[in-house]
């Protein structure tokens, strides 16, 4: 069941990614070139998703939008996961006051209205990719840290760690060679599950005008443009980017959940072997 979900969600994602990568390459049109004679055309055979208020073809522009949004989201998810794994391993391995400090910090970060602080920070450093990535990554590492910490706590009890210690491995070796690699599946799942959140955040920031500059099409900037086009009857400027946003986030979320089931099936106890 989980494998079938993974295949379905994965194929949807593959189609979207192919669309995002191939269309801008093959279309032979620069999605930034404006042509006001073609402005606000309804979807037709020539312009599958219609054109925006500057006459740019939306079929091409949405493709570049997905590419930008997914790349930004991937950066955010990777950075958040790296922070989460490092913090989680440190907390789980040392225990004691570092552990309590980490747990309190995750509580604090979780209690904050993330996106609000993101809006404020990104507004101060407007148009900077680094600010967007940091604002998302720094508020989303807590979940990963908690999962990794509890994983480390249970791993420490496992026989292979005892075996390594008996064989004379130092604490450092145990941590770096045995514990960190064992969290890899959790980290992979975390990256996938963080992606939809990151896409959401980036598109929201861009929609409010704090994200990427308007000539860099992301799903958020496209939806921001839809806001003014809608008043002039351009329904397609909203429908297609919104549909793509939903399909991308849902497919990634489903893939993540299915992946979690596939990677971490209910494990039989090692002691029973």
């Amino acid at each position: 069941m989980a494998r079938r979900h993974l295949v379905v969600a994965g194929s949807v994602l593959a189609v979207v990614v192919l669309y995002a990568v191939l269309v801008p390459l093959l279309a032979g049109v620069d999605d930034r070139v404006t042509d006001f004679a073609q402005a606000r055309q309804a979807p037709s055979a020539e312009h599958l998703f219609g054109t925006d208020s500057a006459g740019r073809d939306l079929f091409v522009r949405i493709a570049s939008g997905i590419r930008t949004s997914l790349l930004v989201a991937l950066l955010c998810a990777l950075l958040a996961t790296v922070i989460g794994v490092v913090v989680g391993v440190a907390a789980g391995f040392w225990g004691g006051w570092p552990d309590r400090l980490v747990m309190r910090t995750t509580d604090a970060v979780n209690a904050l209205p993330h996106l609000l602080l993101g809006i404020v920070i990104v507004a101060m450093f407007r148009g900077s990719l680094l600010a967007i990535v940091l604002s998302i990554a720094l508020t989303h590492w807590t979940q990963v840290a908690r999962i990794v910490r509890s994983e480390i706590l249970s791993l420490r009890q496992r026989p292979f760690v005892d075996a390594a210690v008996l064989a004379g491995a130092s604490r450092r070796q145990v941590a770096v060679r045995h514990l960190v690699p064992a969290t890899a599946p959790q980290a992979l799942i975390a990256v996938v599950l963080l992606l939809p959140h990151a896409v959401w955040h980036e598109s929201t920031l861009s929609f409010l005008g704090f994200g990427l500059p308007p000539h860099e099409p992301s799903l958020g900037t496209l939806l921001e443009e839809a806001r003014s086009s809608l008043l002039l009857g351009g329904w397609w400027t909203l429908v297609f980017p919104a549909a793509v946003l939903v399909v991308v986030t849902l497919a990634v979320a489903f893939a993540g959940q299915a992946l979690r089931k596939v990677v971490t099936p209910p494990q039989p106890s090692e002691l029973r072997l």
């Binding site: 604090a108 996106l115 809608l230």
Partner: protein, 375 residues
Amino acid sequence: MTTVRDGRGKRPAAEPGTGPADGPARTSARPDAASRTAGDDAPSVRDLRRGRHRDVWGMVRRRLLFIVPVTGLVSAGLFAAAKYSPFDPLVGYLGTRYMTTTEADKAIISEQLGLDQPWYATYWGWLQDLFGGDLGRSRSFSQPVAQVIAERLPWTLLLAGAGLALAVVVALLLGITAGVRSGGLVDRAVTAVCVVVQGLPPFVLSLAAIAVFALTLGWLPAAGLSDGGSDPTAGGVLRHMLLPVVVLAISQVPWLLLAVRESVVTSKGEDFVAGAVSRGIPTGIVTRRHIVPTSLAPFVNIVGVRLPELVVGAVLVEEVFSWPGVAGAIVTSARDLDMALLAFLTIGTTVVVMVGSLLADVVVALMDPRVSTDG
């Protein structure tokens, strides 16, 4: 956060003899149970409750103490970030005159405004003013910050309150219906819709609602509080708030609903439900008296957890619908880097969210004695 300690021990001996159909096998254990509650050394229900209240107060104190340093860190970080922002605050202050002012004059102005001070001096000055009751002056609204808040807060409370109330009612009704008949037609339909709505950010929902109900059908106004800037009337406000409130509610419903459904499904499998069913209690009563009450505590918990998202939803909905509330003012002040208003709104919202989730946890802890107060 609150966690369920274990699945047993709820209301010890609080329901003596609810079941008329207590079997003969149970009667043997009965005198023992009765002597336990009546015994001198065992704590009475009242003692347990009093101890519980003490635990909850302890949690409240710990969490309040925790809110202070977090708020301090967030506000300090805000002022530090503002200092390192590449935007010259003078641009906001001078507007178009920025171009015509000489460098020497700019230096004088920034010295008078205290812009050349390090961020902690600015922060310290802001803190002193704040505790002295002076919130400063908002540049983007050309009003004192206190007045901006006083004028706009009621509208946000109206929008967010109505939205949250609607979301809670819808989530409870549909969630319980779906959970009780899990796997049925209603359940599958509701769950599918929820999953799709989870993928839609509030601003997309807002735009879609405006496109359909305001622009295409023309049933409801697209923005603002009243038609053409006239004074708002009760009926007019009601008409104008319908779309934003419904959109805000819809954007919050999926998480709440799926949580209710989940806890209803879980409690359906608990022993006390099986016991009630086997005693021949009708399904309707089992649902109302046994399943729903145990599902409410996790629900209150999830409402508390979702508070930050409600704030973000309010920000986006107010922005798209030009609703004159404080949440929309956050976006305006962030756009203009109007620090006096921005700092107060951001930090105020942060405190409100943290206190709100504490309140939710207190309600949960008082509702359900199984919940631990360690968090």
